[in-house]
C-alpha cells in the first residue's frame, strides 16, 4: 500500500455488455485520478456509464480492459474472493434504497460487515455503537429499520459503510429516496465525514446534490466528458 500513490488510479478503463447480438460499450477508455480526501460527484444521464463506472470502482465488477488501482493495489484482475475482501476492508457502500436487513436492529445491521471481517463479538458491538454515534444515532441501536425514518435509516446505512474504516465511501444516489430537508442533512453528514478525512465518491443525476462536492465528473455515452473542480456549497443543516 503505497501512500504516495493516488487513492484511485484508472487508466483506459472499458467495460461492455452483450445485449442480444450486440455488444454495448457501457464504459469506453476512461482515465482519471482521485486523490485521498476528495469529495467527487459522478454525474450523467441514465445510460451514460456512470453506474458501470461506480460498479467498477466498488469492485463489484471487473473491467474488460484497462487498469484500476485502489490505494496503490491493482484490483482489476483479482479473483472474486479477493474482490470481496477489498470491498469488505477498503470500501463502504451507501445505496439509494438503504438495503438494511429489515428484521435486524440498527446495531446488528452495522455489525454485518464486521461479521465478514472476522471481528470478535465484543469488539463488534463497541465499534458498531461508535459508528452509530458518529452519524448521530446514539440511542437508536436497538431500533429496527421499520421504526426509523428514511433519513435515520440512511444514517444507519452510512454507519454500516464506515464501520470497517474504509479508504473510500461510495454512495449511489444516497438522497434519491429522501425529501429535500432530509437530503440536506445527509449531504451535511457526507461533508462532515469528508472533512474528517474520508474520500467520498457520490453518483447522482441531480445537480442539486452535486453542488456539495468539490469535484464533478460528467459522463456521457461511456466517456468522461467533463472533469471540473468547484467550490462546494455548505449543506450545514
Amino acid at each position: 500500500m503505497a501512500s504516495d500513490a493516488p487513492l484511485i488510479a484508472v487508466d483506459s478503463l472499458s467495460r461492455s455488455y452483450r445485449m442480444g447480438p450486440h455488444r454495448v460499450k457501457a464504459l469506453d477508455g476512461v482515465t482519471l485520478r482521485v486523490e485521498r480526501g476528495e469529495f467527487v460527484a459522478v454525474m450523467g444521464p441514465s445510460g451514460s456509464g456512470k453506474s458501470t463506472f461506480m460498479n467498477l470502482l466498488g469492485c463489484l465488477d471487473r473491467p474488460d480492459s484497462g487498469r484500476y488501482a485502489l490505494d496503490g493495489e491493482e484490483v482489476g484482475r483479482l479473483s472474486s474472493d479477493a474482490l470481496a475482501v477489498v470491498r469488505n476492508r477498503r470500501i463502504g457502500f451507501v445505496f439509494q434504497s438503504f438495503n438494511l436487513l429489515p428484521r435486524q436492529t440498527a446495531q446488528a445491521n452495522v455489525e454485518l460487515p464486521m461479521l465478514y471481517a472476522g471481528v470478535a463479538h465484543a469488539a463488534r458491538a463497541e465499534k458498531a455503537l461508535a459508528a452509530l454515534a458518529a452519524v448521530g444515532l446514539d440511542g437508536r441501536a436497538h431500533h429496527r429499520p421499520t421504526q426509523l425514518s428514511g433519513g435515520q435509516q440512511q444514517r444507519v446505512a452510512i454507519a454500516r459503510a464506515l464501520v470497517n474504516d474504509p479508504v473510500l465511501l461510495l454512495a449511489d444516489e444516497p438522497t434519491g429516496a429522501l425529501d429535500t430537508a432530509t437530503s440536506l442533512e445527509i449531504m451535511a453528514l457526507f461533508q462532515r465525514l469528508n472533512r474528517a478525512g474520508i474520500t467520498v465518491v457520490l453518483v447522482t443525476h441531480e445537480p442539486d446534490v452535486a453542488r456539495f462536492a468539490r469535484r464533478v465528473l460528467s459522463f456521457r455515452d461511456g466517456h468522461l466528458v467533463d472533469d471540473r473542480a468547484q467550490v462546494p456549497e455548505e449543506a450545514l443543516a
Partner: protein, 410 residues
C-alpha cells in the same frame, strides 16, 4: 463469518416466518418419527419371535412319522407307522452327540371333568420329553418313569385346559376322563404362551406314553412300539447338521430303505425355523424402514422447495451481503446452515414424536415395540445429510448471484 454467527443468523431468518419454517420441518418430523416408530415396531416383533424360538430350545431336532406312498398317492404325515420307541433308543445309543431322545404320540381328543368338557391335544410322553421341551411344573408333579412303566392313569394339564375345566382352581387330585378312561390329575404345566405360529402351547395334556397307547382308541394297535415323533436333544455346541445326517442314516438303515427310496420320516431343526422366522421379520423391518426413508426424502424435497423460494425472496439481501464483503462461500454456508438447521430441528422434534408414537402403539395396539438407539442416531444423521444435500442446490444458486443484479432485484 464464524459458524456461531452463521447459526445465529440462520435461526434469525427461520424465526422470521415461523409458520413456514414449521411446515417445512413437518416433512422431516414425520420422516424421522416414522423411521423411529417403524423400526421400533419391527424390532419389537423380531425380539418377540427370537424369544419364542429361544423358548423352544435351539438344540432340538424333531423326528416325525412320515407318509406312506400307496399306488403313487402320498398319504398324510404319520400314516407310515414305522417309527418306533426302539428307533428313539437306537438314536440315543448310536449317535454320540445325542443326550436325550423323547418319544411321543399325539392325539386330538375331548377331556371331561364333571360337567365340563374341552377339546385339546394329548401327548403321550416319557419324562425326557418334559426336559427336552423345557416344560416346567407349577403345581403337583410331572410324568414320572414309574408312571410310564406302570401305565398309571394319571394326567398333567396345561394352563389353558386348567382354565377351561376348573376355572383356574387347583385341579391336582381331581378326576378327569378321556374317552372312557378315568385319569387322576397329578400336576399342572407352567405357562408357555403362543408359539411362533400363534398357536396356544398351553392347550395341551400329557399322559404317560404307555397309558396313552393302551387307552386311547385309534392308536396304531398293529405295532405297540409305534410312536408319532421323537424329540432329539443334542449336547450344547454339537454340530446340528451332522447329528441330523447321522440320525437320517440310522433311521434309513433301521427302516431298510434302499437307495432312491424316499424317507418314511421327517426331520425338523428348530434353528431352521428360527432362521426363517428371523428372515421374515427382518424383511418386515427393512420394508418399514424403506417406507420411512421415502418420507424423509419427501421432507428433503420440501426443504429444497422452501429454500429456493427463500433465496429468491432474499436476493437483495444476498446482493447486499456480497457488496459489503461476503465471499461466495460465506453465502453458501449461510444457506446450507439454514437448511441443515431446519432439518435438524425437524429431526429433534421427530425423535420425540417417534418415541412417543412407539410408546402409544405399544400401549394401545399391544404390539411389542423396542426403541433402538441406532435407529434414532441414523434418523438424525440422515436428516442432517438431507438438509445438506437438498440445501446445496439453493445455496449454490444464492452464492452464484451477481451482486450488481442482486442489488437491483425488486
Amino acid at each position: 463469518m464464524t459458524a456461531l454467527d452463521a447459526l445465529r443468523s440462520a435461526l434469525d431468518s427461520l424465526r422470521a416466518s415461523p409458520l413456514r419454517s414449521a411446515l417445512t420441518m413437518l416433512g422431516i418430523v414425520i420422516g424421522v418419527a416414522a423411521v423411529i416408530a417403524m423400526v421400533a415396531v419391527g424390532a419389537g416383533a423380531r425380539d418377540q419371535v427370537m424369544r419364542q424360538i429361544a423358548s423352544l430350545g435351539t438344540n432340538l431336532v424333531m423326528v416325525g412319522q412320515g407318509s406312506v406312498v400307496r399306488s403313487g398317492v402320498k398319504l398324510g404325515a404319520g400314516t407310515a407307522a414305522t417309527l418306533t420307541e426302539d428307533d428313539a433308543t437306537a438314536i440315543l445309543n448310536d449317535i454320540p452327540a445325542v443326550t436325550v431322545t423323547a418319544p411321543s404320540v399325539r392325539w386330538g381328543l375331548q377331556i371331561v371333568a364333571g360337567n365340563q368338557n374341552w377339546g385339546t391335544v394329548m401327548f403321550g410322553i416319557t419324562p425326557d420329553y418334559m426336559e427336552a421341551r423345557d416344560w416346567s411344573i407349577v403345581q403337583g408333579r410331572g410324568i414320572s418313569d414309574q408312571d410310564v412303566t406302570q401305565a398309571e392313569k394319571v394326567v398333567v394339564l396345561g394352563q389353558t385346559v386348567v382354565r377351561s375345566l376348573f376355572g383356574g382352581g387347583d385341579p391336582v387330585g381331581e378326576q378327569v376322563r378321556v374317552f372312557a378312561t378315568p385319569l387322576t390329575v397329578v400336576g399342572v404345566l407352567g405357562e408357555k404362551g403362543q408359539n411362533t405360529q400363534g398357536q396356544d402351547q398351553d392347550d395341551v395334556i400329557f399322559l404317560p406314553l404307555s397309558t396313552a397307547k393302551r387307552n386311547i382308541p385309534g392308536m396304531a394297535k398293529s405295532n405297540p412300539r409305534f410312536i408319532h415323533s421323537v424329540v432329539v436333544k443334542t449336547h450344547d455346541g454339537a454340530d446340528q447338521d451332522e447329528a441330523q445326517a447321522q440320525i437320517r442314516e440310522l433311521l434309513r438303515q433301521r427302516h431298510r430303505l434302499i437307495d432312491g427310496q424316499d424317507d418314511d420320516f421327517w426331520m425338523r431343526n428348530l434353528s431352521e425355523v428360527a432362521a426363517t422366522r428371523d428372515a421374515s421379520s427382518r424383511a418386515l423391518s427393512f420394508l418399514l424402514a424403506a417406507v420411512a426413508a421415502v418420507s424423509l426424502l419427501v421432507g428433503g424435497i420440501g426443504i429444497m422447495n422452501i429454500m429456493l423460494v427463500s433465496v429468491t425472496e432474499r436476493t437483495r439481501e444476498i446482493g447486499l451481503r456480497l457488496a459489503i464483503g461476503a465471499r461466495r462461500r460465506d453465502i453458501l454456508m449461510q444457506f446450507l446452515i439454514e437448511s441443515t438447521t431446519l432439518s435438524l430441528i425437524g429431526a429433534a422434534v421427530g425423535v420425540v414424536t417417534g418415541i412417543g408414537t412407539a410408546m402409544v402403539v405399544a400401549g394401545l395396539a399391544g404390539w411389542p415395540t423396542l426403541i433402538r438407539l441406532d435407529s434414532v442416531v441414523l434418523a438424525v444423521v440422515v436428516s442432517g445429510l438431507v438438509g445438506v444435500f437438498f440445501g446445496l442446490y439453493p445455496a449454490r444458486r444464492a452464492s452464484r448471484l451477481n451482486p450488481i443484479e442482486a442489488l437491483r432485484h425488486e
